[in-house]
């Protein structure tokens, strides 16, 4: 299924739940740790035993403030509320969350492509336990019974609600990736989608281009990778367009993404917020971070990905979109240090972008990296040779000149290169004829031939220049 994007616009808003990296739970001293033997991270509050009372974990608030500031939010006085519903993974029969007064309000996030997405709010709440459905092949509707593990119940969550500002599956993926980088950078989350420490609910609607009103949305759950996020959005948008074009209407509901069949399925029609009978949590007092605490947190925030992209782009003159990957790999500091040592900015970023995907690349010595770039820009190594040497530098930490010498990489005498090129032209008159007639595809034939004859030592650019010169 694909949508006519000239006629239709996809509108996406994402709700991201992230588990906060505290040692203990949000309201009790049971440990917050992924996995573990079932029901070993439990205490009276986790199990909702009578008489147990919640006491707020200060570190969870600290992390929520960090995230709020990193997302340019207003960090404000906030209040906890009870959200009432019955489900076995929630032993208290209510979830402590925040409702009308969340800790963070009105922020924004900048995507690597420069688009800015609004953040409506971010609020603290507790996670639920984990149920496993037994029998019926694990399918919830056919299960014979369920088993419940409360290790996760009460783990601190921050729910970050984005505005419906996203207009494509690609931007939605970029948003989640960016949010993940920010959460990891400020130490709030380990950002693991696969382990569920970051979970994405996805609100999708469609409207005809030019319409001012938003269409009816569906919320999609069970999206556990960036890839499924993109697929789920595209599938769901196409489903809604089909409905509307065939004269039906989209009903507001929660749908479940099934990775295996690549479709979304009805889970339930959407509850009204009223049905949760939210009310102020009587067992907890307000949080009022106050300017002093907020400024203290702001002062120790690390430089965030967006600022790092702008810095690298400004200092190297390489466009924003190209430096995104370099920052994502955490190689921007290395590049800036190498440039400070005299390396050419453009070549430095290009290597980081294309030739430094190895995790060990971040440990490269900037001075050696700079020396390698200088060997290349000075004409002593070809681009291909520089790439080979760089890979070995990452592996062994060696100096570029030593590695180049050990591999027998030396700059070719230009006379030697000319001889090889002329020999190749003489041996292949038909191909040369085509080259002279402007057949661009044949260039590779000659460059490849020279590379073969020189064992890869020739500089591709020099060969192309020679060919041009011979053509006259």
């Amino acid at each position: 299924m694909s949508i006519d994007l000239d006629a239709w616009e996809i509108v996406v808003g994402l709700e991201v739940h992230t588990e906060l990296l505290t040692r203990t739970k949000l309201f009790s001293s049971a440990i917050n740790e992924f996995g573990g033997e079932p029901n070993t991270h439990i205490d009276p509050l986790t199990l909702g035993l009578p008489g147990s009372l919640p006491v707020l974990n200060e570190q969870a608030v600290e992390l929520a403030i960090r995230v709020g500031l990193a997302l340019n939010c207003e960090v404000q006085r906030s209040v906890f509320a009870r959200k009432n519903y019955f489900y076995p993974d929630l032993p208290k029969d209510y979830q402590i969350s925040q409702f009308d007064l969340p800790i963070c309000a009105e922020g924004s996030l900048e995507l690597p492509n420069g688009k800015v997405v609004g953040i409506e709010r971010a609020h603290l709440e507790e996670d639920t336990g984990k149920s496993t459905h037994v029998g019926g092949g694990g399918r919830i509707h056919d299960a014979q019974h369920s088993l419940v593990d409360y290790n996760r119940a009460g783990v601190p969550l921050l729910e970050i609600v984005g505005k419906p500002d996203l207009r494509s599956a690609e931007d939605a993926r970029a948003y989640v990736a960016e949010l993940r980088s920010i959460l990891v950078a400020v130490g709030a989350s380990d950002g693991k989608l696969e382990e569920g420490s970051m979970r994405v609910d996805c609100n999708v609607s469609v409207r005809r281009r030019g319409d001012a009103e938003l269409g009816t949305r569906c919320e999609i759950k069970n999206v556990n990778s960036l890839r499924s996020l993109g697929r789920a959005i595209e599938y769901e948008a196409a489903r809604q367009v089909d409905l509307i074009e065939s004269g039906e209407r989209v009903r507001q509901q929660t749908r479940h993404w099934n990775e295996d069949d690549g479709r979304t399925h009805t889970l339930r029609t959407k509850e009204e917020a009223d049905d949760y009978r939210y009310f102020t949590e009587p067992d907890l007092v307000e949080i009022d971070p106050g300017p002093e605490w907020i400024e203290r947190v702001r002062a120790v925030l690390p430089m965030l990905p967006a600022a790092r992209r702008h810095r690298l782009s400004t200092e190297t003159g390489v466009p924003l979109e190209r430096v995104a990957l370099v920052v994502e790999r955490g190689l921007d500091e290395l590049c800036l240090a190498a440039i400070a040592e005299g390396a050419d900015p453009e070549r430095t970023v290009t290597h980081a972008e294309h030739n430094l995907s190895d995790a060990k690349a971040a440990d490269l010595d900037p001075a050696k990296f700079a020396a390698l770039v200088q060997l290349e820009t000075g004409g002593e190594l070809t681009a291909t040779q520089a790439k080979t040497v760089l890979a070995e530098m990452v592996e062994t930490g060696g100096a570029p000149a030593d590695i180049a010498a050990a591999k027998g990489f030396e700059a070719m005498e230009s006379g030697e290169l000319e001889g090889i090129v002329d020999g190749l032209i003489a041996a292949h008159p038909e191909e040369w004829q085509r080259y002279c007639e402007g057949d661009g595809k044949i260039t590779g034939f000659f460059v490849g031939g020279v590379m073969k004859a020189t064992g890869g030592k020739a500089d591709g650019k020099a060969v192309t220049a020679l060919l041009q010169a011979r053509k006259g």
């Binding site: 001293s29 033997e37 608030v61 919830i140």
Partner: protein, 100 residues
């Protein structure tokens, strides 16, 4: 004044709270709830411009716990209190639908 609460409203709320009410109880509680809500209307009728909203009567904010692990409960002891357990977990009847 807001519309008076109906027995239908109370039935719905009772259902959400998993309370089974007899017809007599339904009548009684509808009447009592209506009186409570009317009292809220009395307050709503006051001119409260310039009065700060109050979330709770205690003048307390920022009551925290340090992020330090305590002693967990013993799993076997806890599961012994459950009606049924299996593989270190609480066993519950099949659940229809996902959690909200």
């Amino acid at each position: 004044m807001a519309e008076r609460i109906t027995t239908e409203d109370v039935t719905k709320v009772a259902n959400l709270a998993r309370l089974a009410l007899t017809p007599d109880e339904l009548e009684t509680f509808t009447g009592q709830l209506a009186e409570i809500l009317e009292h809220a209307d009395d307050i709503a009728a006051l001119d409260l411009a310039g009065v700060e909203p109050m979330a709770r009567p205690l003048p307390l904010v920022n009551v925290f716990r340090a992020d330090e692990p305590g002693t967990p409960l013993d799993r076997d002891e806890v599961l012994a209190c459950a009606p049924v357990s299996e593989d270190g977990q609480f066993r519950v009847p099949p659940v229809l639908g996902e959690a909200p």
